[in-house]
């Protein structure tokens, strides 16, 4: 099973939206995945052991050793499919 960390400002609002969309897309594509949410300020200590980190906005605040995908399109609704494809490409 692949592990995804979704980070946003407070670990509540936008990360829930993005996490739900990732779960849905993975289910549709038969990818076994576990999605965890957290705050952006915590990622440096939390990211280890995950296969992918997805941020809901811009992120310049720290270094992590996992691939990072920005997913603001999942909030605005423009370019949503491309971002989902990109996320899935890391998880297949």
């Amino acid at each position: 099973m692949k592990k995804v960390l979704v980070a946003c400002g407070n670990g509540i609002a936008t990360s829930t939206v993005v996490a739900e969309k990732i779960r849905e897309a993975c289910k549709e594509n038969g990818v076994d995945v576990s999605v965890t949410q957290c705050k952006l300020m915590e990622v440096e200590s939390k990211a280890e052991g995950y296969d992918l980190m997805v941020t809901t906005g811009m992120f310049t605040g720290g270094k992590v050793n996992v691939p990072v995908v920005g997913a603001i399109s999942l909030l605005t609704g423009f370019g949503e499919e491309e971002t989902i494809e990109k996320i899935l490409s890391y998880l297949k």
Binding site: C8, N10, I12, T14, Q37, G57, M58
Partner: protein, 456 residues
């Protein structure tokens, strides 16, 4: 009619746990969500409310007596507990008038878009709670639904306009085009930051100061981690309360638990509201096809910026210090220290990343939040108690949201004062600022120079 009235009253008396599934189902149906899905949303949100209630009593029962002991021992009068915005959002969504306020706010957005009075399309229903809470508190005080609705609508108008005006700064500094941030928790700081930033521009020498603090994250990083934040603050207050060593540690661990559990419970609200929010997005996007607009997003999308994080990490400990020394403040900063990045994000953008200015102005903003939080705590405490949250162990509650936010405080104050005098002043100020900004910053409207709003 009488039957309807008595059914309504029975439901009101039953409290949010019963009311929430019904209210949310109604809101869901308005946005054409299927009945079962809407009801499921309501149920999840009611569960979130039950959870929030538990965590707030854990906070109030443990931290409340310790804060009181601290006041007795050292005279540091910080007895109003900051329970965090999540608890406030829970109170907001469980108000019986919330469907009316949500409809009013959404309609305000649609009308303003239709008449080209705003470019912001805001269907982020979740964040409507920042606007709605002002209406709910006004309704709680005045008992008049229409005055409450009026307050929420005015909050909405100000949110959309400030979002419009700050969008260029957001695009320029954070590099995200096509969006605006109608999140009052972030926008409110702008009415302090814009004039202050301009003032600093005029002061020789000071206007050149800037420094960087690239090691701040290394040394202050634990202020960004809720578990350590909770542990340290809890243990610190336990020590000031002159507890036994084991009790000091117990308070620390309990407060770390609160810090972790509040967001978990709040995320249930978000999960429940998501289907409704998505449906609203679809519905309004169809209505305004072809029109170019700014998509209103949660300010969470910009708080990942490194200068925002650094500024927040420095401001968090300074805010705790300010809380102890500002005369008149009684708010003990706690749960909302975790969302300081939201309060400073737009300050950083307006100051173009100048760390010196961001910290200085950010501190003024958090100090204003503490004072407004102290002033409106009795109303918020009364409102929370009325929906069954037990706060008897503490000296009242507050947060860094609701009417603690500068803009919300001013709108709230205007609507609970003598309306004949306060409303014309409020209207004049808003319209004045509106004309001033749109005239002076046409095409480059990045300074939300809402100086005058402060004077209400």
């Amino acid at each position: 009619m009488e039957i309807i009235y008595s059914v309504f009253n029975t439901l009101l008396g039953a409290g949010p746990i019963v009311l929430l599934p019904i209210i949310i189902t109604i809101i869901g149906l308005i946005f054409r969500v299927k009945v079962i899905k809407a009801f499921r949303s309501g149920l999840i949100i009611a569960i979130g409310f039950a959870g929030i209630k538990l965590v707030i009593s854990l906070l109030s029962d443990n931290l409340g007596p310790a804060a009181k002991a601290m006041v007795q021992n050292f005279g540091i009068k910080l007895d109003i507990l900051d329970v965090g915005w999540g608890a406030i959002a829970a109170v907001t969504w469980s108000s019986p008038i919330i469907p009316l306020l949500i409809a009013g706010i959404l309609l305000t957005n649609v009308i303003m878009l239709a008449f080209k009075l705003t470019d912001t399309l805001d269907v982020d229903i979740w964040n409507y709670h920042h606007m709605a809470i002002v209406g709910i508190m006004v309704y709680f005080v005045t008992g008049n639904v229409f005055i409450g609705l009026g307050a929420a609508v005015v909050m909405a108008i100000i949110s959309f306009k400030l979002a419009d005006w700050t969008a260029p700064a957001v695009e320029k500094y954070f590099g995200i085009p096509g969006i605006s941030l109608p999140t009052m928790s972030a926008l409110s700081s702008v009415i302090i930051a814009a004039p202050l930033n301009k003032l600093i521009d005029q002061i020789p020498v000071v206007n050149k100061i800037d420094f960087s603090a690239k090691d701040a994250q290394k040394y202050l990083g634990f202020f960004g981690e809720p578990i350590f934040m909770g542990l340290i603050l809890g243990a610190g207050i336990g020590a000031l309360a002159e507890y036994k060593l084991t009790d000091i540690f117990a308070l620390g661990v309990n407060m770390a638990a609160v810090m972790i559990l509040i967001p978990k419970m709040t995320s249930l609200f978000m999960e429940g509201l998501m289907p409704i929010s998505e449906a609203a997005k679809k519905l309004t996007k169809e209505k305004f096809k072809g029109r170019k607009f700014l998509i209103g997003l949660d300010a969470a999308v910009v708080v990942g910026d490194s200068t925002v994080i650094t500024t927040a990490l420095i401001i968090i400990p300074l805010t705790i210090l300010m809380a102890a020394i500002i005369p008149g403040n009684r708010v003990l900063p706690f749960a909302d220290l975790a969302v300081i990045p939201f309060r400073v994000a737009l300050v950083v953008a307006l100051c173009k990343g100048n760390l010196f200015r961001s910290i200085l102005i950010g501190l003024v903003c958090t100090s204003a939040i503490l004072l407004a939080g102290t002033a409106t705590s009795p109303v918020l405490t009364g409102l929370a108690s009325s929906v069954g949250i037990d706060l008897s162990a503490s000296g009242g509650i507050s947060s860094f949201a609701a009417t603690s936010l500068t803009v919300s405080y001013l709108v709230y104050t205007a609507f609970v004062s003598n309306l004949m005098i306060s409303l014309p002043i409020l209207a004049a100020v808003i319209i004045g600022v509106w004309i001033y900004i749109e005239k002076n910053y046409k095409g480059n409207k990045q300074d939300g120079g809402a100086e005058a709003i402060k004077e209400v």
